[in-house]
């Protein structure tokens, strides 16, 4: 009975097992991630209000993007987010080194520092909105002590993006700190001892002995920070709604406004923005993965 035999070999074949286990995941990934990506590509070539007939317009949406100043501002803001958000990594490392000591109550202090990561982004946004408030905010209260201010951080077209990034850095630093704290636990004490015997101290010890051992933590910190920077949507939505006059928008927020918000009916245009954002992320993550890969190979 050849049929039966072949069936048996399929189910029992060890080569097939991983694929069987992967199958449900792959199916859903294809349906909910891969397929929508191509769907977005397709929609970006149309003029469509989301309900009626879609009209094919070729690359017109992309041509419009080139002359759209709001798009340009969003693009620059995205870059600011990506670059400045990375400050969370050294800041988190510094905090972790500071907190990595054995004194009474250290667990309590650690949890205090970790606290901002636990609360929701919405709350972080609200807290910072009040902190920046031009009339009763703590920031202007502090500035008035040194005879400065008042400044309206969230009302200023130049300062606003930096103000929101700072709000985002608060929980992100805590996240990176936790990653490094766990990383520090696995640092090999024998290596530190050996380095000490060789006369390595302070900064040299940190740079040549500790940090290389923290590479896995750095990798994760980098990835989550990049992703966090690209997910800045909620903070912007809570703190400024993209304002004043659109100066704090990033691409994801602009896409939402154009396509999905109360006044947004331009699905094609929104999809074109999404495609651009997709490629930016692809380049960023691709370059990073390549760098990681090269480093790993050098080590071998």
């Amino acid at each position: 009975m050849p049929f039966r035999a072949s069936q048996k070999s399929f189910w029992n074949n060890k080569k097939n097992t991983p694929w069987l286990f992967l199958l449900p995941g792959l199916l859903f990934f294809a349906l909910y991630v891969i397929f929508p990506i191509f769907q977005s590509f397709n929609i970006s070539f149309y003029k469509w209000d989301g309900m009626g007939k879609a009209e094919y317009v070729g690359l017109k949406n992309y041509q419009k993007l080139l002359n759209d100043r709001a798009f340009e501002i969003s693009l620059w803001n995205n870059l600011k987010w990506l670059v400045l958000y990375l400050l969370a990594i050294p800041a988190g490392l510094a905090l972790a080194l500071f907190l990595n000591q054995n004194i009474t109550g250290i667990r309590f202090y650690k949890s205090l520092f970790f606290f901002p990561f636990v609360i929701s982004q919405v709350v972080v946004g609200l807290v910072f909105t009040w902190f920046y408030d031009p009339r009763f905010g703590l920031l202007n209260e502090l500035l008035s002590w040194v005879a400065l201010g008042p400044i309206s951080v969230l009302g200023d077209p130049v300062l606003v993006t930096y103000g929101i990034i700072l709000a985002g850095l608060w929980p992100q630093t805590a996240y990176c700190m936790i990653l490094y704290l766990t990383g520090l636990n696995s640092v090999d004490p024998e290596q530190i001892e050996a380095a000490r015997l060789d006369g390595a101290k302070k900064f040299k010890m940190l740079w040549y002995v500790i940090i290389p051992q923290l590479r896995p933590a750095t990798f994760i910190a980098f990835v989550v920070t990049i992703i966090g920077a690209l997910r800045s949507f909620d903070l912007i939505s809570i703190m400024t709604n993209g304002g004043p006059f659109g100066r704090s928008r990033v691409l994801s927020f602009y896409m939402y406004e154009k396509a999905l918000s109360e006044h947004g009916f331009r699905m094609g245009y929104g999809a074109a923005i999404a495609v651009v954002l997709f490629f930016i992320m692809l380049v960023f993550i691709g370059v990073f993965l390549w760098m990681m890969y090269r480093q790993e190979r050098e080590q071998r």
């Binding site: 309900m51 009339r135 309206s152 304002g243 004043p244 006059f245 109360e262």
Partner: protein, 419 residues
């Protein structure tokens, strides 16, 4: 967001779906499904009350009510498919209906508007419900806009209600000299600034011009539009508006008028309720119609109308139409727009208006002193995309009036894309 907020226990009831008991009887039968965005306490109580009373009149009808938040209404409407379509949905009047009329979601109910009740008693809102010469829904409430001001501050400074632009500015100068701002405003969500544009443009160039601008027939770089901005700028340069308004929502801007740091606010009647709750009694708060600017144009007012529509895919259009007749009936209009309900203006001319200082003034103004016409509000009269770009420009103009040239050019290029 633009709805009034009245605290009511009933609004706290968590369940958003009510099924009226399906007893046999009455000539209507089957299912009737409504999806509305009346999630604030007062509107929620109103729609639930209407469904209850209508259900009692038609026991054979099985009514299902779903209450969404206002913010998710547009997503809800966009995601309707023929199979899942409710019978009745809530939306706004005028141009805001366009996408759903064009996509064929809204049912043409011109036949309803030809009935005696509509012809005789609902004529004032017919224009707002008309697109392409047909009617696409019914209004259930509307409210006036105007200047709400601190009566006691005006008395203290010896000011009287202004009637023209010169008086308005003279008043404002005195208010600014007393260390206050003339007007509080919060432009974080942009639309409040559009209220100022609407009024100054309608007073400078008239209602018809305003509508020509709304329909894309006039350029934003037109001298008449620039004149509107020039008038507006007089106030901006005077320091008439509170500082840093771009960081506040309209609710966050109310404390300025409550504390007496600002003397007035241009807003819809929905702001009265929170102002009263904050402690401004009727002897401290009063209302006047936005002043005349150009004596050659007729006064026109802003009166946003909230509406109900039948979907094209409704499987029970007979019952849906009966519900709309019930909603606009004089009796129901009196009940739902009373102070115990929405506290707004009834759309049926036979309905009685709650005896309220502001509703009385608003009704008088709209019925006898708005000959030029009645606008819906900037983001309901103008196409959605134009509105979002323009409102952002207005906010920028109020903070950096020097950017005007750049702003109008941006709006003009958006006009080229949108119409």
């Amino acid at each position: 967001m633009k709805n009034i907020l009245v605290k009511s226990i009933k609004g706290l009831v968590a369940g958003s779906v009510i099924a009226a008991p399906a007893f046999a009887g009455g000539h209507l039968s089957g299912d009737l499904e409504l999806v509305v965005g009346m999630s604030n306490p007062a509107p929620r109580a109103v729609i639930e009350g209407m469904v209850d009373r209508f259900g009692a009149m038609h026991p054979g009808l099985n009514i299902k009510l779903t209450i969404n938040t206002r913010d998710t209404m547009v997503e809800g409407l966009r995601s309707i498919t023929p199979d899942t379509a409710p019978d009745i949905v809530e939306w706004y009047a005028a141009n805001r209906m366009t996408p759903f009329v064009d996509s064929g979601l809204f049912e043409d109910i011109s036949d309803l508007w030809a009935e005696d009740e509509f012809v005789n008693n609902l004529a004032s809102t017919k224009g707002a419900m008309t697109l392409n010469g047909k009617q696409w829904g019914v209004p259930y409430t509307y409210y006036q806009w105007g200047v709400y001001y601190r009566e006691d501050i005006f008395k203290e400074l010896g000011l009287v209600e202004p009637t023209n632009w010169a008086e308005e500015k003279a008043n404002c100068e005195k208010i600014v000299a007393s260390g206050r701002a003339c007007y509080t405003i919060g432009t974080k969500w942009l639309w409040t600034a559009a209220g100022w544009f609407d009024y100054i443009n309608m007073r400078t160039n008239g209602f018809d011009f305003h509508m020509d601008l709304a329909t894309g027939k006039v350029a934003w770089t037109d001298d008449r539009v620039l004149q509107t901005f020039a008038n507006w700028r007089e106030l901006v340069d005077m320091g008439a508006f509170v500082k840093d308004h771009q960081t506040y929502s309209w609710q966050e801007s109310l404390p300025f008028i409550v504390n007496g740091e600002a003397a007035a606010i241009l807003i819809g009647n929905f702001a009265v309720s929170p102002l009263r709750e904050a402690g401004l009694s009727d002897d401290k708060l009063d209302f006047y119609q936005f002043v005349e600017i150009n004596p050659d144009v007729e006064m026109a007012e802003e009166a946003p109308t909230d509406t109900l529509h039948i979907t094209k895919y409704s499987k029970n259009k007979e019952a849906a139409k009966e519900f709309l007749r019930f909603v606009v009936s004089a009796e129901n209009q009196t009940i739902i727009n009373a102070g115990s309900g929405l506290g707004q203006l009834p759309v049926n001319s036979q309905a009685s208006i709650d005896d309220d200082e502001f509703l009385n003034q608003g009704f008088k103004m709209l019925s006898s002193n708005s000959p030029g016409g009645v606008a819906q509000f900037f983001d309901r009269d103008f196409p959605a995309e134009m509105a979002s770009v323009a409102m952002e420009g207005f906010q920028e103009f109020m903070v950096f009036p020097d950017n005007l040239e750049d702003i109008v050019e941006r709006l003009e290029s958006a006009r080229g894309d949108i119409y």
